[in-house]
């Protein structure tokens, strides 16, 4: 494993021009994620939380401010294989089977795939897709495709993991199940994780710290530490303390 690196955003701003109008997606966003920590970015649609992630991955360039991952500039960190990513939609290549989709980051990073055969098999087992190694995405259910995406995000043994609403397209039951699995997987890898979500319970269940965002312009309103001990079990979902915290966050979320 590449060694967990921190994520540091300093005073980042970003605007988009879409069909003639300028939209201020982010204004003066600063965020510091300790190595090995799990941070959730929580906010309504369009508050710029996905933009933070895209900027961190070098998919967009910030207008102002700097972003460092593991002490490196973000473009350098991603090209060095320090990061892993899973998007809201699985974004699997339809012509690649499960194994080959998981191996895509290795191909992009020009790493020797044969050194990862055991790793890929282990990941497939970890996300519960044993027996589907040769299946094409079209033959899988939505939940299964998302598991492939999670496995793919871990194949490079990243020090920093970005998750962009990875379970946004899944139903609540499956989502909780995947939350528990993600926690287990994350506990095993102990990478720095940044999760973008609009599910309050998901954020509270998974994260050490929740950054609540407000929109227009996108900014971080509050940082809230989550006190629950790990490992967290599914019982937590019905704990009154859990619900109190969720309600409190909902208050902040709607307060702006």
């Amino acid at each position: 494993m590449a060694g967990a690196g921190g994520i540091r955003l300093s005073d980042v701003s970003k605007s988009f021009v879409a069909r003639g109008t300028t939209v201020e997606a982010l204004r003066g966003v600063s965020l510091d994620c300790e190595p090995g920590s799990f941070t959730a970015l929580l906010g309504p649609s369009g508050c710029g939380k996905s933009t933070i992630l895209r900027l961190s991955l070098g998919l967009e360039q910030a207008d102002e401010g700097t972003i460092e991952i593991g002490g490196q500039k973000c473009g350098k960190a991603t090209a060095g294989g320090l990061t892993g990513v899973a998007f809201q939609d699985a974004a699997l290549l339809p012509w690649r089977n499960v194994e080959d989709n998981i191996a895509l980051p290795l191909d992009v990073l020009k790493r020797d795939r044969s050194a990862y055969v055991a790793k890929i098999a282990e990941l497939i087992r970890l996300v519960g897709l044993k027996g589907f190694e040769k299946a094409l995405p079209g033959e899988l259910s939505g939940g299964m495709r998302q598991r492939v995406a999670i496995a793919r995000s871990l194949v490079t043994e990243p020090g920093v993991l970005f998750l962009d609403e990875p379970f946004g397209a899944l139903d609540q039951i499956l989502r909780r199940q995947m939350n528990i699995e993600l926690q287990r997987i994350w506990t095993e890898t102990r990478c720095t994780a940044l999760l973008v979500t609009h599910g309050i319970d998901e954020a509270v269940f998974l994260a050490d710290r929740v950054a609540v965002m407000h929109s227009r312009p996108g900014r971080i309103a509050t940082l809230i530490d989550i006190p629950f001990a790990r490992p967290r079990s599914s019982d937590l979902f019905s704990d009154p303390a859990f619900h109190r915290l969720c309600d409190e966050i909902a208050g902040v979320l709607h307060g702006g």
């Binding site: 974004a91 290549l93 339809p94 012509w95 495709r145 490079t156």
Partner: protein, 533 residues
């Protein structure tokens, strides 16, 4: 719950799928035989099948040399043209400034009505090279456009993923774009294959030589021998049709695996105007100048005498500054007045027919299945081989021009549209269905809007083909318009007029094309889509 709606249910097979088309073909052949036997169509212009076969058998020793000659030049042209086309498509997607610089060149090469430059190539090149060149030109734009469409209409999320791992343009190209463009490129090759045959035959037509189906056809035109003309036409059709079918089969195999599982919602990035206004202007000017420079270099490079090979300046001189200019101008204007209206009418009619058929292939699959073999058969017939037949059937009036124009525009438009509709993700089509929408609503809400980029691609494809169809009809049948002017000038060895007609027909074609592009930009921008142009 999750698995059942994702695993696509196998289609119920009530009977063998090939049975209906085969039955229809048999019915058609029987009708044909009866019509021919009893001289029911145009006073015997449609000979019976048996008469054609009989004639073919009598001519059997003539065919191999002609067929071989056409095959060699069209295959060579197909290979050269498509390699250049795919390489160019990749280059244009990787480098937008190269695409802008070559835009004028591309549009000009695309808009060239092949018939207009066949005489020019025959004047300036030797051996089979005019045929190879024309076959290659016939392939280039179709395949280049298909490559660009395929490479740009990708799932942006997949590209993001590759870029998220530090992948650059080349990685995105390698891992996402090339493979996802494959079905579209193959559809391009499918259309290009009959084009190559048509190009080769056209060059044979315009350029003398001893062998080739075009030469054979030209030699047989004057003999009032319908069965032989049909025989040659059918052989040419078979060659083009086989090439078409082979790529169709490959395409069908590949498309199955590359359909997106869900529809991408990400808006394509807004075009950032790179560089200053002045560099933009310079590139635009360079793009217009490049075809002219290449034209000039072509003449100079081949060392054609100035008398025969006209440079751009030579054409301007002929048209405006020579003693014969006024007369040349009036002949040209009269010809344009005859050619333009019917070109536009034919183009719209062909496009409408293609759209109707593409739509009905969704609505009434069984109707399309029945019609498809007939449509394919009539459309893979190389244009040049079918014109004598159309003339026999429809006479030499405007009707024959219109029908020919529709028939040449319909085919590429239909392929482009059908391909576009096939690429609509299944999930997007399921959504209206889930709300109880019928086939019409589904089509209106999802099928047609998502096929819009392809409709415009089809419209762009049909422009020059319409002009080509009109000019060939004029040349061979009606004795009017630009096509006729070109043919006459050939007879009078009026080299200035030959080059002028070629240049003017390209300019006309480019102008029509530009109009389509402008409309396309407007409409697609309003829909949040991006065209392939």
């Amino acid at each position: 719950m999750a698995a059942e709606h994702v695993l696509s249910a196998p289609k119920p097979i009530s009977q063998a799928p090939w049975l209906v088309p085969v039955r229809n073909i048999v019915i058609l052949l029987v009708l044909w035989e009866i019509a021919g036997r009893f001289h029911l169509v145009a006073g015997g212009a449609l000979p019976s099948l048996s008469a054609i076969v009989e004639r073919f058998w009598e001519d059997r020793t003539d065919y191999p040399a002609h067929v071989w000659s056409t095959l060699v030049s069209s295959t060579l042209g197909f290979v050269i043209g498509n390699i250049a086309a795919i390489a160019a498509g990749v280059l244009f997607v990787l480098s937008p400034s190269a695409a802008r610089l070559f835009r004028g060149f591309n549009v000009a090469l695309f808009a060239v009505p092949t018939i207009a430059i066949a005489p020019i190539l025959a004047l300036t090149m030797a051996g089979i090279s005019p045929r190879v060149a024309l076959a290659a030109i016939g392939c280039y734009f179709v395949t280049m456009t298909a490559t660009v469409v395929g490479l740009t209409q990708i799932d942006l999320r997949s590209a993001d993923l590759v870029r998220a791992y530090g992948g650059g343009k080349w990685s995105v190209m390698r891992f996402v774009q090339l493979r996802s463009a494959l079905p579209v490129i193959l559809a391009g090759l499918q259309v290009a294959a009959p084009n190559a045959v048509l190009g080769a035959i056209l060059a044979e037509f315009g350029g003398g030589g001893r062998w080739g189906l075009g030469t054979y056809l030209l030699g047989s035109l004057g003999r009032a021998d319908p069965p032989r003309l049909w025989g040659i036409g059918l052989v040419a059709t078979a060659i083009a049709g086989i090439a078409y079918l082979v790529f169709g089969l490959i395409s069908a195999r590949v498309t199955g695996a590359s359909k997106a599982v869900t529809m991408t919602t990400s808006l394509p990035p807004a075009g950032t105007k790179a560089g200053s206004r002045w560099t933009g202007l310079a590139v635009s000017l360079g793009s217009i100048a490049l075809p002219l420079v290449l034209w000039w270099a072509f003449i100079r490079g081949l060392g054609v005498p100035a008398m025969i090979g006209k440079t751009p300046w030579g054409v301007i001189d002929y048209l405006f500054f020579s003693p014969a200019s006024p007369q040349a101008q009036s002949r040209l204007l009269e010809a344009m007045g005859q050619t333009l209206p019917i070109t536009v009418a034919g183009m719209f009619a062909g496009l409408a027919a293609a759209f109707a058929l593409a739509v009905s292939s969704r609505m009434l699959p069984s109707f399309t299945r029945a019609l498809m073999p007939v449509a394919l058969f009539s459309q893979t017939m190389p244009l040049i081989a079918t014109i004598p037949l159309f003339v026999l059937l429809l006479g030499r009036g405007w009707l024959v021009t219109l029908v020919i124009t529709i028939s040449v525009t319909f085919f590429p438009a239909f392929i482009t549209l059908a391909q576009g509709m096939k690429m609509t993700p299944k999930a997007a089509l399921d959504l209206p269905k889930a709300y109880g929408a019928g086939a019409w609503t589904e089509l209106r809400l999802v099928g047609i809007p998502s096929a819009m980029p392809y409709l415009f691609a089809a419209a762009r494809l049909t422009v020059p083909r319409a002009l080509l169809g009109v000019m060939i009809a004029e040349w061979l049948a009606t004795g009017k318009g630009l096509g006729n002017l070109l043919n006459q000038s050939r007879g009078y060895l009026d080299y200035g007029m030959i080059w002028t007609v070629a240049a003017v027909s390209v300019v006309l074609s480019v102008a029509l094309y530009q109009i389509v592009v402008l409309v396309e930009r407007r409409v697609l921008a309003g829909m949040g889509m991006r065209g392939s142009e």
